[in-house]
Amino acid sequence: MGKNDQLLGTLDLLILKTLSQLGSMHGYGIVLHIQRVTDDLLRVEEGSLYPALHRIEEAGWIASEWRTSEKNRRARYYKLTPTGRKQMAREAESWERIVQGVGSLLKFA
């Protein structure tokens, strides 16, 4: 998300949410999905994505395996673990709170 990633942790939430929607996906697919779903509003830069994926995997929220893609290419697929699902719920909740907070602040003006 480049310049947009001031809201730390948002990327983690996007990845977790994407994987919960797609079941299991490789990095490139995650980029495309986020871009598509947000109507090109959010672009995840690969420079941020892979470090994030590896960090989240080390944290145990996602697991990965090498598989062959639908286009017959070897790629690394990520999927949510049960802890990841819980973490996603937590992050989603805090995100909602932030949005609510910012929203009411904007409305106030």
């Binding site: 490789h26 990095g27 490139y28 830069e45 690969e46 420079g47 892979y50 470090p51 994926l53 590896h54 960090r55 080390e58 944290a59 145990g60 090498w66 893609s69 286009k71 290419r73 070897r74 790629a75 690394r76």
Partner: protein, 880 residues
């Protein structure tokens, strides 16, 4: 990340690298494929994919950054890189490391002293319960504890677990090797149990042995056992001769036993054997020192109140005269630790603060050097950050480099500290309490490590933060000249001003100590101490039982000594100037009303021979000197000093006046002359009223003798003195052979140590500050060579250029001096107690050190100024 996965990742690292590369490649290929299907050319689509992807190397680095192995690897890399950079600029590295070594070394060494002496508990179990107890007598203005009081405290106190009395004396020792005069101590039997120390060999003496007239038993120090008995295991039961009488060795103390006295460590311990005291009978008293152990949880104040109460009850049982004598006295209870280190505490703390300042200057200096380097390294940092190094990563690298530097400094500093501590131990400085076992321990090592790390961060932080601020584009675009901002220069100037001001504070402190010391050394002690050798002899009661025999010995010895070439005169006396208090008496003047019992004025007394005043060159002001005719059969006479004459006979001549002691049936004494004052108690103490008696007239002859020899050959005098005594009586020990000058200098040892330490730190600080000033100005000249070139091209002469830089140097020095002077005036107040006859804000000292600082600052600026004047305008301008 769990520890387990971190550790397993250490082993998996190669596979992780491979995995990551595969993953990124597959991502790129998928992107390229999509681009191609969208109609891009193959080359174009690959390029586009790469561009979107950004810096693959960086992504790899970042993704790998989550693994500990990679982290470790990058630390090692940073250290290696740091070492390489340091090697590339050897001058900077050497200056920085030497600065660190000296400042960390000095800090560690001084902290070792402070820790060993002030912080470490004394070497006794539950040492915090140990106290010294003494009775303060306001009329004598001294602490004098009489044995009956001690006995009362020990018996009746409710706050003490136990108490022991002792009295340190010199003993003539023989029976094992050469006869010698050894320091020994009379102690009560419970001395060892109160301190909580058991003997290494044998036993200590029993309560039965600690009675008047009981057996002669002795406990030896470990040192004496080693020196005289070769640590033989069968020493217990053997006999030695003390004061010509046989004593049975019953025990040996362990090696780590320390006698609770700040200055002396006795080798011999024998029973004090205090007589039982009853106020109704006339029983002899002894003056003793008392060490006690309070019951756990008792405060000093509570113990003091309890013991004062006990003393009051005791004094109430005394006769009226004795009650007057003890009136107003109070019991002082102090912790043993405070008692032992109190005299050096203030000095050590001042020195510790001083060394902290040196450390501060050292850090500022290295920080300022680093800052200059940071500017030069601007392009390097710019390139690195343009290549994708994160700011945090860059800061980490710079800090690592600094830590490498400070660790080199720390190791060197530790070596310096070990060396200094070794020197201190070898030198056995008189100024330091002998109970302290000075060595570097774990606490000191921890502190050094902490100091090292803090220094590394402290002087690395400024340049690192500076690197953070700079934008890579500026760094790459600009030449080094434009990079140096004014803000940056003012930061460096501020550092130098701080350094100079701290140096001035230290100079002021050292200057005040030097000033005091010079004042003390030039105090007119009232006699000529140059070329005088002194020695002490205690004639054995067994060999010289009668006074005539003693006088015969003195006569023979002085005769032999006078015959030696170079010897001008020889004197004997019960004491000598500067040697301390010897005796005292109350005087009742005839023809004046006798003061009530116990309130007669006190004077010091010294027994001297006829040559005393001539040898020491103490002037006779009025009347006559003693002659050989002033002997036991002649009328009693005395000389008094000027203070005595002024005090008691302010308006008339003291000569011819008569006095006697208040003790009934004392003989009447006629004053036959007045002599000049001499400082008997030491140069710092003013002369007291003093009475001199002719030695041969004093019926109660004290056997402790001092000899003074005025000679032109001081260096060989000690040996000739020893030989002369040996030829007369080969069993008679001589001790404390020392010249007056050496004696004076030893009595000033604490002052000298403080002065030397503070002085050397002040010089170190001044040097470091000068190096700092030099560095800043050199750098400033380098930065401004372009500007200087233009000035010269426009007709500015070399003199003007030198003036330009010198003005900067002098401005810095003046600012430093002003700031330093203000701080010094606040801080030196805390060292007033270390000063003699010198005000803490002594204007002369302050003026001199300020001038010194400004001169040194100007000198440090001259070299850069000279270099600036050599700038070739053509070259400076062409460099654009």
């Amino acid at each position: 990340m769990s520890l387990f996965s971190r550790i397993t990742s250490l082993f998996r690292s190669r596979k992780i690298d491979q995995d990551l590369e595969d993953e990124l490649r597959s991502h790129l290929e998928m992107r390229a494929e999509d681009n191609a299907s969208a109609g891009m050319s193959l080359r174009e689509s690959h390029l586009n994919a790469r561009r979107r992807f950004g810096n693959t190397a960086l992504i790899q680095e970042n993704a790998r950054g989550t693994h500990i192995f990679v982290w470790l690897e990058s630390v090692v890399q940073d250290i290696r890189y740091g070492l390489r950079t340091l090697r590339r600029s050897p001058v900077f590295t050497i200056v920085a490391i030497v600065t660190m070594v000296l400042s960390i070394g000095a800090t560690t060494a001084i902290f070792t002293l402070v820790e060993s002496i002030l912080l470490r508990p004394l070497p006794y179990p539950h040492a915090n319960q140990l106290v010294t107890i003494a009775t303060f007598m306001p009329r004598q203005n001294a602490e004098i504890t009489a044995s009956p009081e001690f006995l009362a405290w020990r018996e009746r106190s409710s706050t003490l677990e136990g108490a022991a009395a002792y009295d340190v004396e010199n003993f003539n020792f023989s029976g094992a090797g050469e006869p010698d005069r050894l320091l020994g101590v009379y102690t009560t039997a419970d001395f060892f149990s109160v301190l909580g120390i058991a003997p290494q060999l044998g036993r200590t003496f029993s309560t039965e042995e600690d009675q008047p007239g009981a057996g002669h038993v002795v406990v030896l120090s470990h040192r004496l056992w080693q020196d005289r008995f070769g640590m033989a295991g069968d020493v217990v039961g053997k006999k030695i001769m003390l004061e010509g009488e046989p004593y049975v060795i019953v025990g040996v103390m362990p090696e780590n036993f320390r006698f609770p006295d700040a200055t002396q460590q006795p080798d011999i311990m024998v029973p004090l054997a205090l007589p039982h005291f009853s106020p109704s009978e006339k029983t002899p008293m002894a003056i003793v020192s008392v060490v006690g152990r309070m019951k756990p949880g008792i405060s000093l104040a509570k113990a003091g109140a309890d013991l004062t109460n006990v003393s009051k009850q005791l004094v109430a049982s005394y006769t009226a005269g004795a009650q007057t004598f003890f009136s107003g006295s109070s019991v002082r209870v102090r912790s043993l630790q405070t008692e032992l280190v109190g005299s050096v505490q203030r000095g050590l703390l001042v020195v510790l603060v001083a060394v902290g300042f040196v450390l501060l200057i050292g850090c500022l200096n290295v920080a300022s050097l680093q800052l200059a380097r940071a500017v030069q390294r601007g392009p390097e940092v710019g390139v690195r950050s343009a290549l994708g190094a994160g700011k945090a990563r860059l800061v980490r690298q710079l800090l690592t480099e600094n830590l490498v530097l400070s660790f080199c400094g720390g190791c060197g500093g530790l070596a310096v500290a070990f060396l200094v501590v070794k020197l201190v131990r070898v030198a056995k400085l008189h100024a330091l309490p002998s109970v302290a076992d000075i060595h570097v321990d774990a606490r000191v090592l921890t502190l050094t490590l902490l100091v090292t790390i803090i220094c590394g961060f402290f002087f690395g932080l400024a340049p690192a933060l500076w690197a953070l601020r700079s934008a890579p584009a500026d760094a790459l675009a600009g030449s080094t000249r434009t990079v140096a901002g004014t803000r940056h220069r003012s930061l460096r100037n501020l550092m130098v001003v701080l350094e100079l001001s701290v140096a001035l504070v230290l100079l002021a402190g050292a200057g005040l100590l030097v000033h005091s010391f010079v004042r003390l050394m030039s105090v007119d002690s009232g006699f000529n101490l140059h070329g005088v050798l002194t020695a002490r002899i205690n004639l054995l009661q067994s060999s010289y039982p009668r006074p005539e025999q003693k006088f015969a010995f003195i006569d023979q010895l002085t005769e032999r000594l006078r015959a030696i070439p170079g010897v001008e005169s020889v004197a004997a006396g019960s004491s000598l100037p500067l040697m301390g208090w010897t005796g005292g008496m109350s005087v009742n003047f005839e023809g004046r009303p006798a003061p009530s019992v116990g309130l007669a004025p006190m004077s010091s007394t010294v027994d001297v021979d006829t040559q005393y005043f001539r040898t020491l060159q103490i002037p006779l002001l009025v009347g006559r000197n003693f002659t050989d005719a002033d002997n036991a059969s002649a009328p009693n006479v005395a000389l008094v000093n000027q203070t005595f004459a002024r005090k008691y006979f302010p308006d008339e001549s003291a000569v011819g006046k008569r006095f006697h002691s208040p003790i009934p049936n004392s003989p009447s004494v006629t004053i036959v002359g007045v002599v000049g004052d001499e400082h008997h108690l030491g140069p710092e103490k003013a002369a007291e009223s003093e009475i001199y008696f002719p030695m041969r007239q004093n019926k109660v002859y004290q056997d402790g003798l001092y000899f003074a020899v005025r000679t032109r050959d001081l260096s060989g005098a000690a040996a000739t003195f020893r030989n002369a005594v040996k030829e007369l009586d080969r069993n008679q020990p001589v001790f404390d052979i020392i010249s007056m000058e050496e004696h004076l200098s030893e009595s000033l040892a604490t002052r000298r140590l403080n002065m030397l330490l503070l002085g050397s730190f002040a010089l170190l600080a001044l040097t470091l500050a000068a190096v700092g000033t030099f560095g800043v100005l050199s750098y400033s000249v380098a930065q401004r060579s372009h500007e200087i070139g233009i000035r010269m091209a426009l007709g500015s002469g070399r003199r003007r250029v030198i003036q330009l830089i010198m003005r900067e140097a002098i401005l810095l020095s003046f600012s430093g001096a002003a700031l330093g002077l203000a701080s010094a005036l606040v801080l030196t107040r805390f060292m007033s107690s270390l000063l003699y006859n010198t005000h803490a804000a002594d204007p002369l000292t302050m003026l001199l050190v300020s001038i010194l600082l400004i001169v040194v600052g100007a000198v440090a600026g001259f070299l850069p100024a000279h270099r600036a004047s050599k700038v070739d305008p053509m070259i400076a301008l062409r460099a654009e």
